[in-house]
Each structure stands twice: as structure tokens, then as C-alpha cells.
Amino acid sequence: MKYLDEYRDQKLAQQLVEEIRRVQTRAWVIMEVCGGQTHSIVKHGLDQMLPPGLELVHGPGCPVCVTSLEMIDKAHAIARRPDVIFCSFGDMLRVPGSNGDLFTLKAQGADVRVVYTPLDCLKLARQFPQKQVVFFAIGFETTAPANAMLVARARAEGLSNLSVLVSHVMVPPAIANILQSPHNRVQGFLGPGHVCAIMGYREYEPIASRFKVPIVITGFEPLDILQGTLMTVRQLERGEHLVENQYARILGRDGNPGARRVVFEVFEVSDRKWRGVGAIPKSGYKLRWEYRDHDAERKFEVKDVDTMEPAECISGQILKGIKKPHDCPAFGGVCTPLHPLGATMVSAEGACAAYYAYGRHLTQGAHP
């Protein structure tokens, strides 16, 4: 059964590639926004199946990658405290700060724990009332409802020993930032499927019309990505710039309003610094004033720290689709997933790490 389906999927994939080939008349550059999409593209070699001249570049949608070095250093400062149980999603453990990573801190005796869901922190806070439980609340809009619910419940239950270190980022300001760059190459986007499951896609409509770029909200499976690419190429060829929804089986234009209600009860939009990219105005969430008692930055008074990124790292240009991992002299040499120099190598969803995982550092010039 499994093999039959795989065969069917392969045939469908070939048909989609054929159709792209049929409608495409000139070169186009399309960016997939999500790290999960990047991973799927590189793993299945989808970019290499596409006709010549059609280039996929990889976007900034890896929240672990773009969490600023300052924020990671703050996390480490808090996690080092003997009274703290520091909780994080697993992907964050190997991300290097200015001095090592959370995994190393744990080995040195810090109480660092991986949680499956933010709600696990409620259990820990109840179980260890004499300890301070701190959750590293990172993520795009997809993760915000879960993190917001943690804070809302902590307040409702009066768990004063539970706080969150918030480093939330939003997709639309990042897309606008890319399009405003004088070096921008991106002509169309595969939009973020699961972000839009929460947010819907109304907020992408003004971006598509202002910058005259098609945005096709797309899923994560190979067929989703090929179909999203086809829909984008069709629009580009027709000179259209609409928001379309390839992922309609999961989401509608309004997303999940109930989830958004809790997000905006707890968080408000704020400026945010992105690793590799820099500060983007109104591109993240911070806790509302009413929830300040659960703000780890206030509680532990972690100051801004001076940080330095390696000068040779080009992750900022990769995150904006200006360059590819191969364009970096450090890629696969001094910069590897075990010793990452910058944002796009630090997590499996980063473009450099995905290229490395699937052996692309061994094949120079593999992209069109």
C-alpha cells in the first residue's frame, strides 16, 4: 500500500513538474518562507527537479535560527542561575550563544529541560514551588497560541514562580523587509502554511498588491510545494499578484480566530531583532503590561549584552534570498551543524544545515 502511494505521488510530482515546464517561459525566483518547506525541498531535491531558470531561494522561516544572539545569551544567563529550571523546545539546545549552548550548560549542572509543550511548564511550576520555572517562548505565529496559553494559565492559577523569555517573530514584516531590500531577487512567495492556519492570510493581501508579488500559501509535503510553485509560476507568467491558498484542506482566509484571541490577550506587537538580519520594526510579540509579572526579562533583570557574530558568515543574505549556502566560503568547511557560525546553520530547518544534511556541500553548484 505504502509503495503504491509512493509510486502515485512520484507520478503526480512528475506531472506537476511537466506542467510547470509547460507554463514557464522565462526565469523566475521564488522564495519558500518556512524552514519546514526548505527541509522538504532539499531532502527531496525538489529544486533540482524544476526546469532551468526557475530558482527556489530559502526564506527566514526558522524561528530557532533567527532568535537573536542577545536573546540566547539572556537565556543562558537565566539558565545558569541555581534557582532556575529552564525549559525550552528541543531545537534550541544546540544553538550557540556567545559562550556555548544550553546543552553545554546542562552538562555543567544547569537545570535545563526539554518540553514537548509549553503546558509542561505549568506542571513543573506546581511541582517545584521553591524553584523559578522559566520557559524560552520562541516561535512564529504558529507557536504563539501555545505560548500565550501558558502565560494566561500561569496568571489564572497564580503561579508566580513561572515566567517566560519571549522572542516571538512574525512572517509578514519579514517578507516586507525582504521585498524592500535594494538587492531583492524574490519575485514570488510560497507562504507559510501553518502560520496561516492560525493567522489566516488577509494580512498577506496588502503585501502582495503593494509589492506586486504573488504569494501562494503552501503546505509542507513535496506535492504541496510543487503545486504551490506551479500556482506561483502561473501568476508570474500572467503578471498577476494575488494571495492564493494551496493549503485549503487545512486553512481558510480567517485562520483560527479563537487562537488569535488568546495570542493578543497576552502579547502585543513589538520591534524585534532577528539573528543574521538585524532589527525589523513591529516584527515580533512581547508580553502585554498586564502580564509583566511573568516576564523573565523583568524578573531576572538580564541586561543587553555585547555580542559578536563572525564576520565571514553570510546568513543574513541567505535569509533574504540574496545568496545560497554554496556562495559562502565557510559553508561545509569551518561552518558545519556541529560548529555553526551563524543563523542558517544552527537548526535543521536553516538553509545551510539542510544543504549540509543532504550532502550538498559535496556537490558545488547543485542549484540552477
Binding site: 529541560r113 496559553m149 479563537g258
Partner: protein
């Protein structure tokens, strides 16, 4: 990290005022919060992200997506330890 995994609700219950469920993902069963999918009930399939159902999906779609994720080795978050069950976090 924005990946969401489809699973089937096998039981539903309330925990300190939050609607919760046991959700089956292939061979693994985990708890998920249903606060954001109030329409979902036992037997329904939901898309789960970091322990929260964010959207409903149909059964065929759920099966297809689960297999695709399995192939991508993207089911790691389901292996995170259960907190409160006495287990030490990895």
C-alpha cells in the same frame, strides 16, 4: 519548527479547566490541548503543534501527512519526555 502533526483523538477530558485529549500519532499517544479546536471530538483528526490542536483534518489527509513527516524524520518532537510522569527531561 512550525510543523504540525496530524493525529486521532482517542479520548477527551478536562484538566484544570482546559479541554484536553489523548491523541494518537501512529504508534505514539500524547496529550494535546483542544482549546483552539472546540469543534473536535473523540474520533476526529486534528493537526497538533507543540501540544495544541490548531486545526481539524480529515482522516485520509491525516494518514498521508503523517507518512510524509515520518519519511522526513520530522516526528522528533513527539519523543520529548513526558513532564509530571516522574521522568527526567532529556
Amino acid at each position: 519548527m512550525c510543523l504540525a502533526i496530524p493525529g486521532k483523538i482517542i479520548s477527551a477530558f478536562e484538566q484544570r479547566g482546559l479541554p484536553m485529549a489523548r491523541v494518537q500519532f501512529g504508534p505514539i499517544t500524547r496529550e494535546a490541548c483542544l482549546a483552539y479546536t472546540p469543534e473536535a471530538g473523540v474520533g476526529d483528526y486534528v493537526l497538533v503543534h507543540v501540544g495544541f490542536a490548531i486545526s481539524c483534518v480529515n482522516a485520509a489527509e491525516a494518514e498521508r501527512t503523517y507518512r510524509a513527516l515520518e519519511e522526513l524524520n520530522q516526528l522528533g518532537e513527539l519523543e520529548a519526555p513526558v513532564v509530571g510522569g516522574g521522568g527526567e527531561a532529556a
